[in-house]
Amino acid sequence: MSKRAWAVFAALTFALAVVAAGCGGGGDNESKGGGGSTTSNVKGTVSFIAVWTGPEQQSIQAVFNGFKKKYPNVTVKYKSAKDPGQVITTAVQGGNPPDVAALNSPGLMKGFVDQDALKPIDFAKSDVEANFSADWVKFGTVNGKLYGLFFKGANKSTVWYNVHAFDDAGVEPPTEWSDLLKDAKTISASGTPAYSLGGADGWTLTDLFENIYIRQAGPEKYDQLADHKIPWTDPSVTKALTEMAKITGDTKNIAGGSSGALQTNFPDSVTNVFSNPPKAAMIFEGDFVPGVVAGQSTAKPKTDYNVFPFPAVGGKGGDYVVGGGDVVVMFKDNPAARALVKYLATPEAAEIWAKRGGYSSPNKNVAESAYPDEITRTTATALAKASTFRFDMSDLAPATFGGDAEFTDLQAFLKSPSNVSGTASKLESDAKKAYKAS
């Protein structure tokens, strides 16, 4: 009898161990590129972690295949991670980081530099400087050393519009903020509300604010505000909020009014503009907008919807871009990893993905013709050739502010657009708390 109990106990323990083992492990993907012969004696395996899955994973794999053609003896092992920052932090603490990884924020990169986990990529400095504008190089540099190159970018300084709504109103995409406000009145008179705001998702409001702010106050102030070196009660902030209120306060001109906008989430705000007849004429959001309705909307690019760069405010910043990017960093220094990093800095590597779509490269030497359609060409070129590029300020702020309180405060501002000073002081008090805690 007791023997049997032991057997049961053993079986249970075994079952548990199996379950536990089954939980671990992930999907490894080995690149098996066609082997073209090139002059290279670099050998080895490079492990690479990034967030890309699905079609994006296939695209990065295509890039690795291109790499394999040049370096037939190097194999890239790609692994996707839902949250690369978290996975890699754990891997670094466990002493087993990947050779190369793509991180989705420069702050994360800086954190790893502070932990001495990253190897500088100064060997690729000349390639990076030749292919990227000064801002992109600067964001990859920490303490005077180059640590990262931006392989994939996101442009959040775009405005998407319904072509029919603009045609009905007889307006052209504006290049200046004041024209945009005037055109919006005309669009409203034509019978379609001008703006669609996804106010239920607070980040859409922070993006609108940031685009106005960087143009009106300039990049220096933008950096200071992002670091909270100037308070949110600064006159530059109230000025930008006042400008923003010209949109949020034009309640009749917002699809659903401001109370309706507060319950509209981002995908619905896109649908408002991409449907026919449209519920609103334009939406302020980044290059990922068409992807949101892909497969649901029958709207065609150019004929049904189109895009224009976020207009200049007061004549300034028509070619500024606020956005994001995935930065490639190196955790282990070996010839194979160096070869891959150097390769990813080339326009050639970026063009492989560009041709496949769904991608904007910050690399300014990527041929415009590499992009599959005119719309991607517009947004991607604006990103690579931006005279000033800045990261989304709310992504740089501590999460309690940039991912929470700032949302709520701007949503309250959408509700009562006349309360500029109250909004500014609320933002400041929330920012103070968040920056102090971080």
Binding site: A5, D167, G191, K252, L262, Q263
Partner: protein, 443 residues
């Protein structure tokens, strides 16, 4: 054993139990230990240790490198969002479990008396088969404000439209200051006067298909003439002037006012033109009937900050009532019928039977349902996550939701999150004690 086989051949009339085998003390402990062991290990590793660790963690700062005594609890009681969370938890606890139990009871008693009761039970029980998160997604869509999206407002809208029909041009606005906000042509008119009632903010789709090019009205003796038209051409056009390409709006009711009182009314033709004949003297005004611009019903703002908690409670009831009904129904079928019969024979009305006999006999089951719901409601999370739009999350929040948000949603305030979790645990204690006690009593 040999002795038993011998006994089997010559069976005793009275069976004697086999002599107990002498076992060592250690061995006698081994058997229960091996049964309890796995469960105990699981319990300690995944329940007791994490719970204790959470309580301990709540006395450390967010990064976990500094002991801060009760600072996190201080934050807990000074944070206005946490106050809302506590308030919402109180509303949930006060309303949901009681309603669930009562509705479950009523349904269970009623359903026993009808045909097809199993089918109906299955239908009412079905929502429980859906995860609470999916329930949230379903109700979120049903609650959408715009009547053409949200099912509930669409239903209410159908009723509303019967009562009060929306105007044909709800969004339209006067195109120039010559027409005021009440859609009155501001100029005083007399015999031979013309009224230019220009409107904007009408989408081309909303202009009736028989509309024709508008014309500037001609002055006519003994009459007031005018036009109602879509005063917009691409680029804006000249407000207040009839231009080429601007269509008249047919079928609009126009009233003639004298000293603010309606004296006549007419309807526009396909060119948007109208004429009031038999006018003498002056002091007339023309107005487009306000009914034309009656706003369509906007819908109830279920997902706004005021109604969000009741809306979520309703969604919760939808899933929980079926469960309560089935459990109470099972209790109901266990009640001895003769007690009910006896009461009826003694002349009790059905309601008296229900109140004096059924409910008291069901009390143990009812309390079980009530307490389970209490516990379920205290930890309510998924419904909030799925139903509340981002802009009202801070109005809809509960402690369980805040615990998750503060700890994991980027903020990584684990010390604070642990404090919320510990506080929540404290709130659970009375229910747990009650549950354990009543179980003991039953045994």
């Amino acid at each position: 054993m040999t002795s038993t086989s011998v006994r089997a051949e010559f069976p005793d009339p009275v069976r004697t139990p086999p002599a107990p085998r002498p076992v060592s003390r250690a061995r006698s402990l081994l058997l229960p230990a091996s049964f309890l062991g796995p469960a105990a290990v699981l319990l300690i590793v995944w329940m007791i240790y994490p719970a204790l660790r959470t309580v301990a963690r709540s006395f450390w700062n967010d990064r976990g490198n500094k002991f801060v005594w009760f600072q996190n609890y201080d934050r807990l009681f000074s944070d206005s969002v946490i106050h809302t969370a506590i308030k919402n938890n109180v509303i949930w606890i006060a309303v949901a479990p009681l309603t669930v139990t009562l509705l479950g009871l009523v349904l269970a008693v009623l359903i026993e008396r009808i045909a097809w009761q199993s089918a109906l039970k299955v239908i009412l029980f079905m929502p429980l088969a859906i995860s609470l998160f999916a329930v949230g997604v379903i109700w979120r869509i049903m609650y959408l404000q715009e009547p053409d999206k949200g099912a509930i407002n669409a239903g209410l809208n159908a009723i509303h439209d019967v009562v009060k029909e929306p105007g044909v041009l709800p969004r339209a606005e006067p195109s120039s200051p010559a027409v005021n906000s009440r859609f009155v042509y501001t100029k005083q008119l007399g015999s031979g006067g013309t009224a230019l009632l220009g409107l904007t903010a009408i989408s081309p789709q909303n202009v009736p298909s028989d509309a024709e090019q508008a014309e500037t009205p001609q002055s006519k003796q003994g009459a007031i003439t005018g036009v109602v038209w879509r005063d917009f051409s691409p680029g804006g056009g000249k407000p207040g002037v009839v231009e080429k390409g601007e269509l008249g709006i047919p079928g609009v009711t126009v009233s003639l006012l004298k000293d603010g009182k309606k004296t006549d009314s007419t309807t526009t033709d396909t060119k948007g033109a109208f004429t009031f004949d038999g006018v003498s003297g002056s002091g007339y005004q023309a107005q487009i009937a306000p009914a034309t611009f009656a706003q369509p019903w906007g819908g109830v703002q279920w997902l706004g900050s005021k109604l969000i908690t009741p809306a979520m409670i309703i969604a919760f009831l939808w899933t929980a009532v079926g469960f309560a009904m089935v459990v109470i129904g099972a209790g109901l079928s266990a009640i001895p019928r003769d007690v009910l019969e006896a009461a009826r024979t003694d002349g009790a009305t059905e309601f008296q039977v229900f109140r004096r006999v059924t409910v008291p006999l069901l009390m143990p089951v009812l309390t079980v349902v009530f307490v389970t719901q209490m516990i379920g409601v205290l930890k309510i999370f998924d419904i909030i996550y799925a139903i509340a739009p981002g802009s009202v999350q801070n109005d809809a929040t509960t402690l369980a939701f805040e615990m998750w948000k503060r700890s994991f949603l980027g903020a990584n305030a684990f010390g604070f999150g642990a404090a919320i979790a510990s506080f929540l645990m404290l709130l659970f204690v009375p229910f747990l004690i009650y549950q354990v006690r009543s179980q003991r009593r039953n045994n």
